[in-house]
């Protein structure tokens, strides 16, 4: 029943992030890639919004994007993935909704 939502745009310059979060169900998951990983910037509003998500919502980020942007001090709940993990994640959820 659960959906993997994927975001790849900056939460600071784009509305996809703020539109997506209210739609996450308790068993859904969120994968941040590309500029959406800026949402992990410590102390930022988007980072706070992520922390406020239900504990049951799993939050993932693409490791290469986090590393490229030198984002450190990740919230403990965020799990980093390589591409093999990314593929497997899409298998674990029933559908994938990319916010194009």
């Amino acid at each position: 029943m659960a959906t993997l939502h994927m975001l790849s745009h900056s939460p600071f310059s784009d509305s996809r992030f703020s539109s997506c979060l209210p739609l996450l169900g308790d068993t859904d998951a969120l994968l941040l890639s590309g500029d959406a990983t800026y949402a992990l910037t410590a102390g930022s509003k988007p980072a706070t919004a992520l922390e406020r998500l239900s504990e049951q919502v799993a939050v993932f980020a693409l490791a290469e994007d986090v590393q490229a942007r030198a984002i450190t001090a990740l919230p403990p709940r965020v799990q980093l993935l390589d591409y093999a993990g990314f593929v497997e994640l899409t298998c674990r959820y029933e559908r994938v909704n990319s916010w194009l």
Binding site: T27, D35, Y83
Partner: protein
């Protein structure tokens, strides 16, 4: 959900400890041009899907994704040539690569037939791709386990 595998963080990068199981049939749709990070991300995902033992039943390029199937893109010497990499990937793995014809025409990505039909100076669709309709996206989605889309401006 989540019962059959978990991720641990090792030096900042997680490793998959348990494989999830049965191979899946993927349709991968790309909506972004080759210079977009999404085009590279989609390719790396596609490569990982095959490496993970899954099947890619179709690739479908739509909207600005049609440019990622262009044979006319000239990448700078010190830049990644994503369009060329996509073409090599499709050809080497004998994948079914479809470019939406309506989206292609609108954006000037044509095969020889369409260039002739519309009297345009160039056919620029790369060799590994075929122009076809959105019906191909639906047909593939009907048979696939997962439809994964990449792109967005």
């Amino acid at each position: 959900m989540g019962a059959d595998g978990f991720f641990i963080r090792v030096a900042g990068v997680s490793c998959r400890l348990f494989r999830n199981g049965a191979p899946m049939k993927f349709v991968i749709a790309l909506f972004a041009p080759p210079h977009s990070p999404a085009a590279r991300r989609a390719l790396r995902f596609a490569e990982a899907a095959l490496a993970g033992g899954h099947e890619i039943s179709r690739l479908f390029f739509y909207q600005d994704g049609v440019h990622s199937a262009s044979a006319n893109v000239v990448a700078a010497q010190d830049e990644l040539d994503v369009a060329a990499q996509w073409n090599r990937f499709v050809t080497a793995n004998q994948l079914d690569g479809v470019v939406c014809i309506a989206a292609g025409l609108r954006r000037g990505v044509l095969d020889a037939g369409e260039a002739q039909r519309y009297q345009r100076p160039a056919a620029n669709l790369a060799a590994g791709w075929e122009l076809s309709g959105l019906g191909q996206l639906h047909e593939a989605a009907q048979q696939a386990d997962r439809l994964v889309c990449f792109g967005g401006q």
